[in-house]
Subunit: 207 residues, 2 copies
């Protein structure tokens, strides 16, 4: 997108520079593809700026997004080796999180809900401590939709987060309250998909 | 997106495996953000699979997408150094292309149109020679829209391309003939953008 003039100059008492440097809360929603891919693309850019990147995947599947995980963790390693870019942490909910030992127990919905809440509590702690420059909360729209986390708590925490921490949240059916506080909301709409024509997902394109 | 069953099984005489391995022509269009970012995210995945990646940027601006360019060319270099991932070539139209010496002359529309046609002719040669596994034709919807390249030629060339070469085309207002032959079309719709609230683009988020 070409750089443009803002269409409205708000009366918020901020200079253009202050406004420009404000942290962004972005939401990628809709039923189309590219929600997560575009979020990881932002992480790629952020890494290149030297940002500290934290990815939190609120999904069970191990297969999806292994490409992004592989490349971004490799870039984080490159940062440790050569100082290029920024550090990268990649956390998956899977069976519990890497920082918990909650991988015991049955694979029930109550369990997934508890894991999602634990993930959100950790993110809250990190936001309070200004731990990362960019948080990718991948598929986090779902735990919000399913009531696994308190939407009002999420919205208030994100709205009032300290410092300059960017946050990107992905997933279908983003809650209207989240959209309300977000700065940048993009809806990805499916116009045409190979599965409609009987084609299954393939390596490199789908994961 | 979770992996699913195809909704239709086509009578094309192909096995599921053959269909799965068919090359994909994807289009990212619409007025929202994330079209290019998601395309570069696909390149990231492809790199991780060891694919040979060719990026062709049909835009003049040097500022946009420097993050993606920096990271993807770094990954290509990493491939040369360590054998990880795949090779990456990144070509920008700018004032002519890297393989031409057309940077002389005035900065006119006729000149840009000629540069765009030259870019497309090179892509045709590469498609015929099965040079890359994934082609990112960034902002290529515009030269198509503006009549700088022959849309019917583009569509026929892409439809009949040999081997297994994936192509992703980005840009607003994708031509209906392109959408017709594409396998995967996603429209990115702007719901909310910081510029609406008087915020200008910022490093890391916009480029």
């Amino acid at each position: 997108m070409p750089q443009g003039k803002p269409t409205v100059v708000p009366e918020d008492g901020l200079t253009t520079r202050q406004r420009r440097n404000r942290a962004v809360l972005a939401v990628h929603t809709g039923r189309g593809k590219g929600k997560s891919t575009a979020a990881f693309g932002l992480a790629l850019r952020g890494w290149n700026q030297g940002w500290d990147i934290g990815v939190f995947q609120f999904v069970k599947s191990a297969k999806w997004k292994v490409g992004e995980e592989s490349v971004l963790t490799r870039l984080g390693q490159l940062h440790e080796e050569t100082g290029e870019g920024g550090p990268v942490e990649w956390h998956k909910m899977g069976s519990g999180w890497s920082w918990t030992r909650s991988s015991e127990g049955e694979d029930t919905e109550a369990r997934h809900a508890a894991d999602a809440r634990e993930g959100w509590e950790e993110i809250k702690r990190r936001l309070a401590g200004e731990r990362h420059d960019l948080y990718v909360l991948d598929e986090f729209a779902y735990p919000m939709k399913w009531g696994w986390v308190d939407v009002d708590d999420v919205v208030a925490t994100l709205r009032d987060r300290p410092g300059r921490q960017h946050v990107v949240i992905t997933g279908r059916d983003a809650d209207p309250r989240l959209i309300e506080v977000a700065d940048l909301v993009t809806e990805m709409t499916k116009i045409k998909h190979p599965m409609d024509a009987g084609q299954k997902g393939q390596r490199g394109i789908e994961w």
